[in-house]
Every structure is written in structure tokens, then in C-alpha cells.
């Protein structure tokens, strides 16, 4: 225990002076320096490259430096820029730095290999020099990566499928990436911004950066249940990247109703039951189960179905049911429009029938009977009261 405490105190003692010592180290640097982040760079012939330089003064009085560049090969143009202008000399204040640029115009026909340039700053008391190694090389080939975040989505034929695609530019240049998607026939594809609705065909990606675009796929609404691949291609200059996303479309029943042979009208007589055949068709891509048949009709109408429910209709198949329609006894002759509905789980269909209601011809017979009675009365009167 005691040993541990002693050790701890020893550690503390050792650590405590270490912090101010480090700080003093930093400020203890004294002198003038010509600096650059990357003293050895690779440049492609025929391009212009800029190298950032810094002239740093630590705790020395300000001084004027004449800037020169040595070791410039034949045909190259090397300029030192300060504040955007060619600069021949620079001055730096105490504990401050001045930023300079070294611009290299390398001719396209320059020979491959490494050229050593020396940037030198000559002051009254000090002379600084910074060697910069410039290697001429063919540029790195463009390289793209395409990565879908969620490569497989599931939905119905009516859904919108949206894929987030991450395009990464792994090359040393800014690229304009062209996008293309190849989907099965009749599928609609479009690329949009990640947050936006503008459709894209290409987009710029900076070197080393990545961008996310959205691929929207709309399947044709009549498509059957299956898995559909969509291949996406991103290409720029001489590089390309591929990815494959997939749509898993689950089938959906779709119902439609009509009369037999498509007839949507029927006749009925007031107060009497009429049977109207109705064909329920499943035009969807999955079987429809437990289809319930309902109706909405003017008040007083009695409508029932035989059978009341249909157990199952396979896709592309149809079943016939009978709608038993009874107009009210006092229905006035004319056309009425009851609506028949079929509802499977989540899928409905309805159709409006035109039912022409006629009045029973019994009344016509009764009318003729009344006239006959009147004529009989006349005949009776003629027989009874006939006189000479």
C-alpha cells in the first residue's frame, strides 16, 4: 500500500513539470523558416500546379527576403506568387507568417522523372532555402465506387422504390459522373438529388469526395410478383462503377366487377325479386381471398348475394355470383342505380348497375277488367231496359 502511494507520488512529480516544459518547447523555437506542407509532389505534364509556401518568423525582428527559385528545368515556368501577384520579395513580421505560392507551369512534353527545385529566400542576415521535389508522372487513373445503401427493397407493384446510392470519387481529379440505370422493360427509372426532386443525368464529384443520389424505380402496375434486378452504372471519363439493386415485388389482388358479358343493366319488377348475374374478376397478381359482397341502393331496396362471400379467386380467374335484387313494392317505374361492391382484404371493386324497374302488368289486367265490368253494366242495362 505504502509502496503504491510512493509510486503514485513519483509519477505525479514526474508528470507535473512535463506540461510547462512542453509549452516552453513550442515557444522556444526561434528563427526564420520557409515551410511547405508537401515538399515532394507529383505533377502531370501539361498542367499548372500550385504549391503553398509559408515564410514563418519566430521571435525575430522583421526582415526583407528576396525570393528566388533555383534548379528550374528548361521550358518550365516557375513563379512565386504572393497575394495572387508575382512576388520578388517578401517580408514577415515577428511571430507571423506570410503565405506564398509557387506556381509551376509544366510543359506537356517535359520529360518524366524527378526535378529538384530550390526556393530560396535571401535576407540581410539569413538565407533560407527549401528544396521541393517535383516528380512528373502520368496522372492516377480515375476511380469510382458506387455503393447502394439498401440494395434490395420490397413492395407492391404500386409502390415507389427509392434507392440511396453513394458515388465516391477515389481519383485525384474532380469528375463529372454520368448515371445510367438499366431496368426490366417498362420500368421507369430516374435519378434525383438526395433531397430534391430535380432529375439528374450526371453530377460532378470532387476528388476524394462522395455524393449520394437517389434512384427512383417505378414498376409497371401490372407486373407480377417476382424479384427484378436493376443495374446501375456510374461512369466518368475512363472509369466506371456498377452496382445492382433489386425490387422484390409482392403480388396484389385487384378486383373488378361487371355483369355477365359486361352488361351493366338489368330489369326488375316492383316488389319482385330479380336475379342479376355479376362476374367478379381478379385482374391482379395474387389470389384474392374472402371476398365480401355488399351493396348500396336506394332506401327500401332489398339486395342480397348468392353466395354472400367468395372464398378465393386466383389471379386472372373470375367467379360469378347472383345478386338478388328486390325493388320496393311502391317503386315508381324508371331507372335506378344500385351499386355493388366487392371487398377482399385491402382491395375493393365496385360497379354501378342500371336497374330498370317496371310496374307489374297485373294493374293493366285490372284496368281492362274494370272496363269490361263497365261494358257488362251497359249490356245488362240494354238487356234490362230495352223496349220497343
Amino acid at each position: 500500500m505504502r509502496l503504491f502511494a510512493a509510486l503514485l507520488s513519483l509519477v505525479l512529480l514526474a508528470a507535473m513539470p512535463a506540461v510547462p516544459a512542453g509549452a516552453q518547447d513550442n515557444s522556444g523555437v526561434k528563427g526564420l523558416f520557409l515551410l511547405t506542407d508537401y515538399p515532394a509532389v507529383t505533377v502531370r505534364p501539361g498542367t499548372t500546379t500550385t504549391i503553398n509556401l509559408r515564410l514563418r518568423n519566430y521571435a525575430l525582428p522583421p526582415e526583407r527576403f528576396t525570393l528566388t527559385v533555383g534548379g528550374v528545368p528548361q521550358g518550365w515556368t516557375v513563379t512565386v506568387l504572393g497575394g495572387g501577384q508575382p512576388a520578388g520579395a517578401a517580408m514577415v513580421a515577428t511571430n507571423d507568417s506570410t503565405t506564398l505560392q509557387l506556381r509551376l507551369d509544366v510543359p506537356a512534353n517535359a520529360a518524366m522523372g524527378t526535378q529538384n527545385l530550390t526556393v530560396s529566400a535571401k535576407g540581410q542576415s539569413t538565407e533560407l532555402s527549401l528544396p521541393v521535389a517535383v516528380t512528373l508522372a502520368k496522372d492516377l487513373p480515375a476511380k469510382l465506387a458506387l455503393e447502394p445503401e439498401l440494395p434490395s427493397l420490397r413492395g407492391t407493384a404500386k409502390s415507389n422504390f427509392e434507392y440511396q446510392l453513394k458515388i465516391k470519387n477515389d481519383s485525384g481529379r474532380n469528375l463529372v459522373v454520368a448515371l445510367a440505370a438499366q431496368a426490366p422493360q417498362n420500368f421507369e427509372t430516374s435519378f434525383t438529388e438526395q433531397y430534391g426532386s430535380q432529375e439528374l443525368s450526371s453530377l460532378p464529384v470532387e476528388a476524394g469526395q462522395s455524393k449520394t443520389v437517389k434512384l427512383k424505380v417505378r414498376p409497371p402496375s401490372t407486373i407480377g410478383a417476382s424479384r427484378y434486378p436493376v443495374s446501375v452504372k456510374a461512369s466518368a471519363e475512363d472509369a466506371s462503377a456498377d452496382a445492382t439493386v433489386a425490387l422484390e415485388i409482392s403480388g396484389q389482388p385487384r378486383l373488378s366487377m361487371a355483369g355477365r358479358d359486361g352488361v351493366l343493366s338489368a330489369r326488375a319488377e316492383a316488389g319482385k325479386e330479380a336475379s342479376i348475374p355479376i362476374v367478379v374478376t381478379n385482374t391482379g397478381t395474387a389470389a384474392a381471398d374472402e371476398i365480401e359482397l355488399t351493396s348500396s341502393a336506394p332506401s327500401g331496396w332489398k339486395i342480397s348475394f348468392e353466395p354472400k362471400t367468395i372464398d378465393r379467386i386466383a389471379p386472372g380467374a373470375n367467379k360469378e355470383v347472383q345478386a338478388l335484387v328486390t325493388p320496393p313494392d311502391k317503386a315508381i317505374a324508371g331507372d335506378y342505380a344500385p351499386t355493388f361492391n366487392a371487398a377482399a382484404r385491402g382491395e375493393t371493386a365496385s360497379t354501378q348497375f342500371r336497374v330498370a324497374v317496371g310496374v307489374s302488368t297485373v294493374w293493366g289486367a285490372i284496368g281492362i277488367g274494370i272496363i269490361a265490368i263497365a261494358l257488362l253494366i251497359m249490356v245488362g242495362a240494354v238487356a234490362r231496359f230495352g223496349r220497343r
Binding site: A333, R354, I371, G386
Partner: protein, 318 residues
Amino acid sequence: MQREGSPWRGLSVVYFRELFDHLTSVRMLVLQFLVVLLGGAVVYFAAEQIRNTTAEDPFLFLRLFAPPGQSLLSFVLVLSILVPILAIGLGFDAINGEYNRRTMSRILAQPIYRDALLFGKFLAGLSTIAIALVTLWLLVIGFGLLRLGVPPSGEEIGRLFIFLLVTIAYAGIWLALAVTFSVFFRSTATAALVALGLWLFLALLWPALAQMLGEVISPSDIRFAQLGLPTPDTLAWQQGLSRVSPGTLYGEAVVAMLNPDAQSMTTLLAQFQGRIGAPLPLDQSIMQAWPQMVSLIAGTILLYVIGYVAFQRQEVRA
């Protein structure tokens, strides 16, 4: 004393004689002239209105008789007023005129039964009116063809034909009434006045009276009144009572025949029942107007029978 042989003996003689008298009489000429003039004028205006306003109409020809919209003077309205006058004018002196001219005993001295005399006179009157109406009907259709340049469809012809028959039946009921009154009243003036008075009462007063009586028998319900609707029971009573008037029956039958869109007496009720405003087929229109037609025909027969019985029981003196 019971009759021997057919009661129709001598019918054709009476019929043709009466028909000849009617068609050559000045009274008939004046009435006919009146009907043609008024009907022609009304149809002319109806045709002008159709030419100016109607775009497309499946029943263009029917509009000639019953113009769309609430036209004050339609052909049908003119007929419903003039046909009773025509019928009463032809029938009011059928029997009592013979008495006044002292020709009754002379006719009955011939081998003609009273049955044949009365029936022949009634039939001749009806035929006269029928001839006048058919002429008018054909004139209107011909005029319509000229002015509109559209031939009537088969259904329109059917509807117009039934309309003609209904109009003849409507004339028949007034003729039977006038003949019956001519049996009852010895004075021709009385018979004419009573018949015309009854017509005026039924045509002008009775519709308003039926409304009032219906209200008295079955007072309207405040709940319906607040909704701005007629009480069904009250409406039924009012309609039933107003149908005592042959004019109402005729009007309803004509509307059913000439307005296939069924803008009839049942429109309000039909709206309640959720009917679509589609034209009715001809057979359904006939079914709708059938009770009215039956009432007109049966009424004619019954009124004639009353007059017949009364005539048979009368004593005929020279």
C-alpha cells in the same frame, strides 16, 4: 214490353244522319275553326321556341305538343279546354232537341229502337270530334315536319297516337255527360248551362277545392312542412280527390305520354326513391298512365249507361 230482335237495328241510319248534320252544321264549323286556329297558333309558337332554344332532344316532336319549360299556352292546354266545349256543344241537345222540335215520336215511329237512337247520336258525336281531332293531329304533325325538318321516331309516333286516343276518350266522357244531361233536362238551354257549369266547376274550382279538402281530411304534418315537403298522406288525398275531375285525369295521362322524362305527378316521390332521371320506355309510360286512361273510358261508359237507363225509362209523347 220487351224488345224483339237486335237493339242495333237502325243504328247506322241514325249514325250517318247525325254525322252528316254535325259536319254540315254552322256550330261545328265555328268550333272546328276555333280549334284549328288556336291549336295552330300555339303550335307555331312552340315550333319557334324549339327552333330557337332546343339543342338536341330525343323527343323533339313531343315538345311540339308539350313545350319544355312552363309554357303558359301549350297545345295540350288548349285541347284540354276546347275539347270539353266541343263535346258539350255537340251533345247538349241530343235528346231534348228532338223533343223540342217534336220529332222524337216521329223518329221512334220508324223501325228504330231507342237504344239505336241514343247510341247512334253518341257515336256520331264522338266520331265528329274524332274526325276533328285526327285532322288537327295530322295538321300539327305535318306542320312540325315542315318547321322542324325532323321526322318523328317510332316511339314518338306511338306516344302521339296514344295521346290522340286519350284525347278522344276525354272528349267521350264530356260527350256522354252532355248526352246524359240532354236526357235529364227537357230544356236545351238548361242542359247546356248545367253541363258547362259542371265543366267550369271541375276544371277551375275543383283543383283548388281538392287541395283544401285533402288538407281538411288529412292535415299536413308539421315535420314535413318544415322540410318544405308535402305530407305523403295529404298529398295522396289531394291527388285522389282532384282525380274526380276528368281534366286532371287527362292532364296526368298526357304528361305521362308526352313527357317520357317522367316529369309527372310522381317526380317528387321518385326523387325520394332514388330514381335516375332517364326517360321511361313507352310501355312503362302506358303503365303509368293506365289507371287514368281506364278511368276516362270506364267513366264514359258509366255516364252513357246512366243516360241510357234514364232515356229508356222516359215516356215519349207526341
